[in-house]
Every structure is written in structure tokens, then in C-alpha cells.
Amino acid sequence: MAIKNENDNRFYYSNRNLWAGILFGIGIVAFLDETIFHQLLRWHHFYDKSTTDIGLISDGFFHAFSWFATIGGLFIYADLRRRNGLWITKWWGGVLIGAGGFQLYDGIIQHKLMRIHQIRYVENVIIYDLIWNVLAVVMIVIGLSLIKSNKQQAKEVSDEPQ
């Protein structure tokens, strides 16, 4: 009887690794946003009087969903571990895509289009916006490249003669 390696089932659970990462990424970036920018720095406002109705709804939905995503994402991580299906680089790829994706949505659609609040109430807010969104894109690019190298790895493994 062959001895099973740790994380032997990771190719079987490939997509679940990605989704667990994306959920946790969305959740953690929303959590950091709330903690750092709302509570500690107090740059973001709780409610900006220029908020559109759709902005209020979008913000409410993402706030609720991000709580769920953080906790649920970590439970799925634990589930992958007990199934020997954890694929850590794929998971990190997911985390960066989720985090970058949400930050980009927050930075462009929620801050700029729906005007839920600005990053900081100063004159040259455009600089803050640029840094915010460029960081988001960088996270997405790194995340995508991690997943891509994983795909090649999975292909090589499945091509190997049994």
C-alpha cells in the first residue's frame, strides 16, 4: 500500500483552493479597510452626505458579505487541510486576486462612481486614489501569475507517466 503524501488531493480540490483564497482575500481587505482607514486613521467617513442610494446598498452588501467571506473562507481553508487538499500557492493566488479585486472595486466604483466616501478628505485626493488603485492592480497581477504557474505545474504532474 502506497503511503499518501501530505496534500495529495490538492489537484482534485484545485478550484476550492482558489475560491477559499478569493473569499478570504475579499474579507481580509475589507477588514483592513474598516480597521485602518475607518477606525485608526479615521480618513474614511462612516457616511458621506454625497453617497448615492446605490452606493449605500453596494457598501451594505459588501460589508455583510466580507464578514461572511472572512470566516467562511477560513473554514474552507480548514476543510482543505483536513482533506489533504491544501494548495498554498493557489490559495495565495486567490487571496491576492480577491483582495486586489475588491480594492479596485472599492477604489473606482464605490469611491468614485457611487461616492460612498473618499479615501481622505484632502485637496489632492487623486494621489491617494492612484496609489490605492495601482496597489490593487499589482495584487491582481501577482495573484494571476501565481495561479498561472500553478496551472503549468498541474499540467506537468498530470502528464507524467503513472
Partner: protein, 277 residues
């Protein structure tokens, strides 16, 4: 009555006027009764069956205490004139007390303690169509969150302070709807009408969204007779206080998912039958 309370508030002392005392006693009495009944049931049950877990009794005691301090005593008096205090009271009555009381598994305790014929009748009631309807996550969420929208976006909030009966109905509703909402999201007690995890997760997310949006709406649009400062503070109490309790509900729901979807061996299937949450 409002004006009257204001004078008392300015004096810095909270006297019980007769108008305040009666609704407070009426609202607090059922909770005191359930506490006595629960403890009696634990004593009876411990004699006949294996010991009832201590943490459940502790949960029930604290649940009842939070419910009582939100409907009677200094916080309830203050809530009549101070919107922030009102919001703390509602967090206790509509979210924290139901959560703690749901964790105390009162239905399980009742089924253990009652005689078999009465317990059968109770379990038949739990299986009824009405119970299916009320414990459905969507209906429970509409009763809970929809009720709050009705309270804070219409004149119901100011009417509640003028009419004694309305005050009673609103507070009873807030508690019962909060309890139904909690037990529709995670299953501690026997629940004949179960729905899948994903279903509950989605409904919970939407309900929390409704709660969060309402908090921000209150922040920007104070209910009648509430000052802007109080509405801003109250809205934030509702938003962040709600978040803290929501985390616990989400955590228990996910934990139940985690346990239910464990990779199965024969032993796991067997022992899973006995997991309460």
C-alpha cells in the same frame, strides 16, 4: 409623557413614574418566569437524565438578564429620552438575548423535562406548517429586519413612546423576531424544517446588508424627535454592535457546515448523529 420624562432626565435622577413602571413590569415578568422555569427544568432533568451542560444554563441566565435590562430599569428609562441608550437596549433585546437564549437550547430541555404525551404534542407543534413558515430564514429575516425598517423609517418610533400598547407590541416583536431569526440560521434545538447551508448563508448575508443599510440610513435620517447627534451615535452603535453579534452567528453557521461536511468514515456518520451543533 415624553416631556415628563425629559424633566426627570434633566434632574439627573430616574424616578419610576406609574406610566413607566407598568410596561416595564409587563415586559420583564415573562423573562423572569422563563428564567425560573428553565432552572426548575434543569433540576428536574438532571435527576432523570445525564447532567444538563452548565454553559447552557449560563447562556440562558445571561440571555434573560440582557433582555430584562433592555426592557426594565435604568437603561429602559434612559432609552425613552436617549436614542443611543434605546439602540443599546435594542441590540440586547433583539440580538444578544436571542443569541444567548438560542444557545441555551430551551426546546431540547423542554422535550427532556415534559411528560411523554405533552412532549409529543409539542414536537407535533414544532413540525406544523406554521412552525415551518416562521422558522424559514427568509420569513424570519423579513419579520426581523423588515420590522426594524418599519420602526425607524416611519412615525412608528415616535408613536411607540406615546402609546403604551404599541410600546409593548414593538418590544415583544423585536425579541421574538430576533429569536426566530437566530434559530432559523443555526440549529441547536431540534428543527424539523431544515434548509441547506448555502440557502441560510445567502439569506443571512442579505439580512445583515439590510441591517447595515438601515444603520447608515438612521445616521443620515434621524427618526422623529431624535436629534442628529443622537441619531449618528445610535446608527453607529447599531452598525458596529450588530457586526459583533453577527460574527458569532456567522461563526456558528460555518462551524456547523464544517462539522456536517467532514470527510465521512463509518464512525463519523455514527457520531455525527449526536452532535447538537
Amino acid at each position: 409623557m415624553n416631556l415628563n420624562n425629559y424633566i426627570l432626565h434633566i434632574d439627573g435622577a430616574y424616578f419610576f413614574t406609574q406610566e413607566q413602571l407598568i410596561p416595564q413590569i409587563l415586559l420583564a415578568l415573562p423573562f423572569v418566569l422563563t428564567l425560573v422555569m428553565y432552572i426548575l427544568a434543569v433540576i428536574v432533568s438532571n435527576r432523570r437524565h445525564k447532567r444538563w451542560p452548565l454553559y447552557r444554563t449560563v447562556c440562558w441566565i445571561f440571555g434573560v438578564l440582557f433582555a430584562i435590562i433592555s426592557v426594565a430599569g435604568p437603561l429602559a428609562n434612559r432609552a425613552l429620552v436617549d436614542f443611543t441608550a434605546h439602540m443599546f437596549g435594542h441590540l440586547f433585546l433583539g440580538m444578544l438575548a436571542p443569541l444567548l437564549m438560542a444557545l441555551a437550547a430551551p426546546m431540547t430541555l423542554m422535550l427532556r423535562t415534559l411528560t411523554v404525551p405533552i412532549a409529543r404534542r409539542l414536537s407535533k407543534m414544532l413540525r406544523s406548517r406554521l412552525s415551518r413558515m416562521l422558522t424559514n430564514p427568509i420569513i424570519a429575516s423579513v419579520l426581523n429586519i423588515g420590522g426594524l425598517w418599519l420602526l425607524y423609517t416611519t412615525s412608528l418610533y415616535s408613536l411607540m413612546h406615546d402609546y403604551f400598547l404599541l410600546h409593548l407590541i414593538v418590544h415583544v416583536h423585536v425579541f421574538l423576531a430576533g429569536y426566530l431569526f437566530t434559530i432559523s440560521m443555526f440549529y441547536i434545538d431540534p428543527m424539523p424544517h431544515r434548509v441547506p447551508f448555502l440557502y441560510r448563508a445567502i439569506v443571512l448575508c442579505v439580512a445583515l446588508t439590510g441591517h447595515g443599510i438601515l444603520s447608515k440610513y438612521i445616521y443620515a435620517h434621524p427618526p422623529n424627535h431624535v436629534t442628529i447627534n443622537q441619531a449618528e451615535l445610535g446608527g453607529m452603535v447599531m452598525y458596529y454592535g450588530g457586526d459583533i453579534i453577527d460574527i458569532v452567528i456567522i461563526f456558528i453557521l460555518c462551524l456547523q457546515w464544517f462539522r456536517a461536511t467532514r470527510p465521512r468514515t463509518r464512525l463519523a456518520i455514527f457520531s455525527n448523529c449526536f452532535i447538537s451543533y
